[in-house]
Symmetry: C2
Subunit: 424 residues, 2 copies
Amino acid sequence: MDDAGFNLDAAMLAMGRRAREGARALRLSTAEQRTAAIAAMARAIRAEADAILAANARDLAAAQASGTPEAMQDRLLLNPARLEGVAAGIEAVAAIPDPLGAEIARWTRPNGLDIARVRTPIGVIAMIYESRPNVTADAAALCVRSGNAVILRGGSECLRSSLAIHAAIERGLVEAGLPKTCVQAVPTADRAAVGLILSGLDRTVDLIIPRGGKSLVARVQAEARAPVLSHLEGLNHVFVHAAADLAKARAVTVNAKMRRVSVCGALETLLIDRAAAQRLLPPIAADLAAAGCELRGDADARALVPSMLAATEEDWRTEYLEPILAVKVVDGLDGAVAHIAEYGSGHTDGIVTEDAATAEAFVAGVDSAIVLVNASTQFADGGEFGFGAEIGIATDKLHARGPVGAEQLTTFKYVVRGTGQTRP
Amino acid sequence: MDDAGFNLDAAMLAMGRRAREGARALRLSTAEQRTAAIAAMARAIRAEADAILAANARDLAAAQASGTPEAMQDRLLLNPARLEGVAAGIEAVAAIPDPLGAEIARWTRPNGLDIARVRTPIGVIAMIYESRPNVTADAAALCVRSGNAVILRGGSECLRSSLAIHAAIERGLVEAGLPKTCVQAVPTADRAAVGLILSGLDRTVDLIIPRGGKSLVARVQAEARAPVLSHLEGLNHVFVHAAADLAKARAVTVNAKMRRVSVCGALETLLIDRAAAQRLLPPIAADLAAAGCELRGDADARALVPSMLAATEEDWRTEYLEPILAVKVVDGLDGAVAHIAEYGSGHTDGIVTEDAATAEAFVAGVDSAIVLVNASTQFADGGEFGFGAEIGIATDKLHARGPVGAEQLTTFKYVVRGTGQTRP
């Protein structure tokens, strides 16, 4: 194992150096080349569908054998329809406007200096993610679109699927005349590779994007030695206010929780206004139960809906990603805002109310990447925002927040053009 | 010392908790209150000028006694004119438009969802900086303008000046009805305080802004446990291309190096195009020598200007901040771009040329925060860019790059307003 460890170290450092070369090639590429490469990647994924689905079947068999929960298995699963969705998804990225070289702003100073703020690539991005093999394709396409080389480190549970998709991506890059070093995949499930990426690979990594749950959060916090753009937990809340329209509250809550329980925009804790809990909670709870959702309530919620299980403190801190919902009765807007400040993950939180002033107070009081009024939390998605595709939902406050598409993966520089000006 | 260490630990953690309270107060404050607070801070600095100048005199006496280089002493010095500049500088911050609450973008989706991207404060910022007592005032004003609480950790060499300015700032805050917790200063020169700030103070710090030289860079890289926006070295280059106008080249070079040698936008390495070195270098070198600048050249430069000292590898890596300039003869544009990629700090680099195509190739090839054509590097300044004031020049690639003013100290959230929409 010492030998294997040594080899991984050297292999990862070499991957970082190659990524620098890929970044240089992308910086010198044209928008047309980048578009062609993404389109070729989509074609190659379709052409290699059999191999990708076979690899995915092996991942799924391993997941079943090791007793992986069903929600997680659903995240892993590829079938012909989903794989077509993967290919179509990156074609959507090929179709969005190329962000590079755009002048974000340009102005002239009184001394005649012409200052332009011009969009440029970040350089080398390293993605660390779990399950969901489509992330491999989306991340590759978005990084090529934004001119960044990327090192992909997919979770061990979908490694076979990711590597099969990556093989197709390489084929697409080569077809378009770009080097394979633009998109590299870590070929091993060895978790030591994550540590090496977090070290920054001898300063070749400009940005680390972790996308995952609590254990990844903790590791990134402790070890990262390069800038991080986190895509972490979605511990999302819906607050049903006393002035809520019951029909909207029922529809929004059931959709937010049950449309797809395994996405990061799924509802995890329902907050009900004490002032109208009796009117609102029983019918909402009945809808959720009918849809197959397990409810875990505090004492006040259980007094209204005795069939609920009892929630513990741990439930307020849990991103289930399963058909389970924590339910709490709170004291009005202030109670809801305080609960979200204490337990939320800064991802997506919503209110259902017909009272405009309360809605605006909720919007002002909740400091999450996405704050919704009368809409399902499952709209937390780059596609739904109109960004074409996304690498995920950023839960940090800096650089980008919320859905991260190609534009959010760029930086800028100032170009100052003069005629010999000196500063007095 | 164990007792002192224990106390510092507790004191810094308490400072972090108080900063959270200050951030909450600022988030709930109005633009008018923030403007009034900054104006009151400026008035208080003028009112306490005697105390501030007396504190500065003690800092300077200590610096002289310990043999601090003159360029550093110049950075420390306050006199009545410079202190009036400090007060006027934060009045300029009071005058710039308040960035908070602005809708950066707003659009409606086909399903009727109304999505707004709204500017919000980051939260708690910790500034770690060296010398230059005006930074204390600028940082306080810019953080209040952008709704962020700030913890200031000025260098030990200007601690007395910084604390005297901070006392005036507190007076201004209180006068405007804002709590002192909005702007706190670390009251000790103990370097352990820097380590504690870099630890993130139990996650109360949202952003660390270090502004300083190589030793601070290294420490931040190794220890930071919160997001960082670095304001680090300005190892800036001017490339005088073969097609340069000699008069512009002479004026730009002398101004870039000698206008003020101790600022981060000062020129540190001059690159001369081999194809026209004989025409260009001797007159530029004569101007620089006449202005009192020591020149250190490579062999090719010394062949043309024998009075130069010999440069070593270390000179290409040195931000002098003194009247010393490294000079190298390079092979055209490619040689200049390669040298800057190898030795530059990504701060500010410029070209002097009359050839438009070469200028644009330089702009495309140099990935620095600010790239200049035919203008002095000393324009690397938020005021010169029209930003009102700046906290410094960011040398990282993420979130903000180049001059960091109030707008660059904000983040945003998405506000999504619906009428009961659910996701299909």
